[in-house]
């Protein structure tokens, strides 16, 4: 594949990733947001496979495979299992109206492109539009975490934040060292497990959503 085509493919995937991000921000139902983030991880895995074919970097295949299994399948399945287990009746519960959040998300996307347009040198080291898309996903993930009241929505925000970093890291021309990426994924899995245990524990002891506790102040 020529560099031109790889650039185009990565840019197309960037657009798809931004689209899934909008679905996550706009989701009314928590399960919808989980499917959207699973799709997002799937696109990142495919983008990784494309980059692996184009650059001949074997490490990228491994990373794409792990992303596919862990982030697109196991972790979303875990979240859906928690929903069934807790019999979630409450849905997303935004702090501010979804439309306002969407508008903010748009501002973030535009700013990310604007920011990285000013960084000429780096554009050569990172394929296509992976840098602005990565920044946009990371910041929008944080936005989701900050504007949702329920624990599971906050975890979805965390996933898309991590996805943004991964997308950029994959597209760095020389690739990230494999061992680092595996370590990062391991950390994410551990963090999610600890969070899940906390959510279930609070649910079983006080029958409340953990993100809804507001007793510590001042």
């Amino acid at each position: 594949m020529s560099i031109e085509i790889v650039h185009r493919i990565i840019n197309d995937f960037g657009a798809l990733l931004l689209f899934t991000m909008i679905l996550i921000v706009a989701a009314n139902q928590i399960s919808g947001a989980i499917y959207a983030v699973a799709a997002q991880s799937l696109f990142i895995a495919i983008a990784g496979a494309v980059l692996a074919t184009a650059t001949g970097n074997v490490d990228l295949w491994i990373i794409a495979g792990i992303t596919l299994i862990v982030k697109a399948m196991v972790l979303p399945w875990l979240l859906l299992w928690v929903i069934r287990r807790m019999d979630v009746k409450r849905e997303v519960e935004p702090v501010i109206p979804t439309l306002t959040t969407l508008a903010l998300a748009m501002v973030v996307v535009v700013m990310s492109f604007h920011l990285s347009a000013s960084l000429d040198t780096v554009r050569q080291t990172i394929t296509g539009n992976a840098l602005p898309v990565g920044i946009a996903l990371t910041l929008n993930g944080v936005l989701v975490m900050a504007t949702r009241k329920t624990a599971l929505s906050q975890m979805v925000g965390l996933f898309s934040s991590e996805n943004g970093i991964f997308f950029t890291a994959m597209a760095v021309n020389k690739g990230m060292p494999l061992i680092i990426e595996i370590g990062v994924i391991l950390d994410v899995i551990l963090a999610v497990l600890v969070m899940t245990i906390m959510v279930l524990r609070v649910r079983s002891t006080v029958d409340a959503d953990i993100a809804d506790l507001h007793r510590l102040r001042g």
């Binding site: 780096v122 993930g141 020389k174 680092i180 370590g183 001042g218």
Partner: protein, 487 residues
Amino acid sequence: MAEMLIWVIPLVPTLTALLMLTTGNRRILSGLDIGGSSVLVVLTFILAHEVAASGPQAFGVFRIDDLGLIFLLLLVVLTLAVSIYTVGWLKQAVEVGNMKAETLRYYFPLVQAFVATIVVTILADNLGILWIAMEGTTITSAVLIGYHGHHHGLEAAWKYIIVTTIGISFGLFGTVIIYAAASNVMGAASSMSWSAIMNVAHRLDPGIVRIGFIFAMVGYGTKAGLAPMHLWLPDAHSQAPTPVSALLSGILIKCAILAIIRFQMITAAACGAAFPQQVMLVFGVISVVVAMPFILAQRDLKRLLGYSSVEHVGIIALGLGFGGAVGTYGALLHVVNHGITKAIAFLAAGKAIARYDSRDLQSIKGLFTVAPTCATLLMIAFLSLAGVPPFSIFISELMVLRAGIGHGNWVSIAIFLAMAVIIFAGLLHHAGAMVFGKPTVTASREPEARSPLFAMLLLAAIMILFGLTIPATFDGYLQRATEIVIG
């Protein structure tokens, strides 16, 4: 020999943690805890000797220089003191039901695992490993913060894990960006090793490094408890079991500072020292200002100490921001002084809270009558935190101030001084109210347990020594670390 030590040191707490999983007996667990911590202290002292004799040591992804050594020494001393303290603290906590005897077998291994992840953050030369270990500290300590298992603990743990995980993902993004810039310069031989990036740092593109530094600063700054990213800190520090609070405040937030210093050095080499210093000054000033009202109006003893940590991390950032030899030396000395002093304060506060069965500052009264030694230790820790001479924090604050005057940044100095004076008054007021006066009838008058007192006296001896004179060997480490930072 020294190269081998670099690998052995992180293994010590890891193996201790694994050994602990095999037993549920409190005595054996405490013995292993103190034993593991003592071995760690001895090995670190040997390593410190080697580094002083033959310079920085590197092995694989790990590297130790004088800068890292300061943090490592602080860590091992605090770990040992906390292990000793835990013996008496735990006995009491189990008796009143604060800790359940059957969950102890997980508490000790978690503390040692927490220590192991901190050791790796200090030794990591590879920026990726640094990030992984830093996230590792979040996971292990989040479980510890929620250990009591009541609402407040779990709420604090959730807030902690969410806020610091968001923060730390910014740190990872900063790392990726700096790596992208470095791989552009280094070509095929690119690596994430900090020392390799430092070698080519002056050739990195300034624009991209700036963005990377901002991300890293916000990311690791969250973990360091710099305002306005400090939201998790007062909750986590107040809800964690006391020994864990001492470790969180004493060393964990300092390790994040070490990570920031690493990125600051890359940035200073790539785009001049002025830019990272400016960023540090902004965060430093905000932290000191934000902490002030919460310290004055505080009613919860452990939250008070948490906000005081925000202030002191701010002072460290100010020292690094003013820069130069004096400012950097002062900031590094402040890392050690605050670590030791805040550990004493948390440990003494834990004993006081157990006596009154309340963390409300208004119900803790007349501590001196019921527990004179603990009261004296709490008082000198508060005096030191307020910046009273001849205690150690006074010296390092004076150095930071001196660097600020040399730097000529009058606005920052004026704000710093004003806040320091107000906080001084606030802390002394709170301490006086707790220590003097007539104790409530319900206050426990049991004799003071020996092991917690011994641990606190050990730390107090170091604190007082550093206030009077800095030992020549340690001064050497600080001098060389300062040279490393200012380049």
